[in-house]
């Protein structure tokens, strides 16, 4: 078998694994830009992306994308279809009207496409463009179902708002 056939075969297999994992979790998914799989590290996909859609409305809820991803091994050494170790994660969450909500970025983390969560002991940033909220810290877990972000090792949040209108100085 030529290396081209091997590559396309592996790519299809990995996409199938991700979709099967999502189907088990009751979501729907589409993988994007799984452009190449290296034969030397068979389980690595570059420009990996997956969109999770609402099963009722069909609208995108979460979109995971990364520069590289590989299926994470289980404790027994086998590959787990739902788990991915990703490099250069960009996780976008969307509102019901499909407008962009939070964007979370992490240089390295683990993603579970079935439970729709992502986490890492390393650094991360999160931001929401519409109101200028920005978050950065170390050690995070994002629960995509509840849209809950847990940080366990230092967090800084910047809010673009004010507490109150200070009274001007009296003469």
């Amino acid at each position: 078998m030529s290396s081209t056939h091997l590559r396309s075969g592996l790519r299809a297999l990995l996409c199938l694994m991700a979709c099967a994992a999502l189907a088990q979790g009751g979501g729907s998914a589409e993988t994007t830009n799984a452009s190449s799989a290296s034969a030397s590290s068979a389980a690595t996909i570059r420009q990996w992306g997956i969109s999770l859609r609402d099963t009722v409305t069909g609208r995108v809820q979460l979109r995971f994308s990364s520069t590289e991803a590989s299926p994470a091994p289980s404790d027994k050494g086998g590959l787990v279809p739902a788990l991915w170790d990703v490099t250069g994660l960009k996780l976008e969450s969307f509102r019901p009207d499909e407008s962009s909500d939070f964007i979370i970025e992490s240089p390295s983390c683990r993603v579970n496409v079935t439970t729709k969560d992502a986490g890492s002991v390393g650094s991360f940033t999160a931001r929401r463009e519409t109101d200028g909220i920005s978050i950065r810290g170390h050690g995070f877990q994002f629960d995509g179902t509840e849209r809950r972000l847990t940080v366990t090792n230092s967090v800084q949040i910047e809010l673009r708002t004010r507490l109150f209108q200070p009274k001007p100085a009296s003469p």
Binding site: S93, R95, D97, S99, D101, F102, R128, E129, T130, D131, G132, I133, I135, G137, E146, R147, R148, L149, T150, V151, T152, N153, S154, V155, Q156, I157, E158, L159, R160, T161, R162, L163, F164, Q165, P166, K167, P168, A169, S170, P171
Partner: protein, 190 residues
């Protein structure tokens, strides 16, 4: 001639720029802590361990635990860079609460009001800080110690209380006062 026109213009630009920087600072709140759980959709933030809240030029809070409710994003779907809600709905700080409020004083000076207690609540509707649990507020002129709650109105910069309270004034504030310079009715020495 050119100089006489340019200088006032430059001064005006600098004034506008500094005003803009100040406004931007006051539109910013920084929260930091070791741990947190952020309910992104509900806008409920819970931070604990080494919590610090900073609103540059306005206030600073340190405490053990903080719960904050953020304004609902009414501009859903729009792409404006600033929040439309504008204000934090509420803050509840608890455990070793220390607050520093920076208030503009006369002649460009800054007055610092320090408040301490076991819990502090801020509500954006009334713009008040309610301090409970051995509440104590320190100003340049003295200390106010309450038994139940001290309530500080951020808009009017006035204080009121719930329960009894004690005020300790610094002797300095009586300096120059004529209160104790009156004549007495004691017999004059011969």
């Amino acid at each position: 001639m050119i100089r006489s026109v340019l200088l006032p213009l430059l001064a005006l630009l600098l004034t506008l720029a500094s005003g803009s920087v100040l406004a931007q600072q006051q539109d910013k709140i920084l929260l930091s802590a070791t741990n947190c759980v952020l309910e992104l959709e509900k806008g409920v933030y819970h931070l604990w361990d080494h919590v610090r809240v900073e609103s540059p030029g306005v206030l600073q809070i340190t405490c053990d635990d903080l719960r904050a409710a953020l304004p609902q994003d009414k501009a859903s779907g729009t792409s404006g860079p600033l929040p439309t809600g504008g204000k934090l709905q509420s803050l509840i700080a608890s455990g070793n609460v220390a607050i520093e409020l920076f208030q503009p004083g006369a002649n460009g000076s800054t007055n610092v009001v320090r408040a301490f207690g076991k819990q502090a609540e801020y509500g954006s509707q009334q713009e008040i800080l309610i301090l409970t649990g051995d509440p104590r507020i320190e100003t340049a002129s003295g200390v106010m110690i309450g038994t139940e709650a001290l309530i500080y109105d951020l808009k009017s910069r006035t204080m009121r209380n719930r329960g009894s309270y004690r005020i300790e004034l610094k002797a300095d504030i009586l300096k120059g006062s004529t209160l104790f310079n009156r004549g007495t009715n004691s017999p004059k020495s011969r």
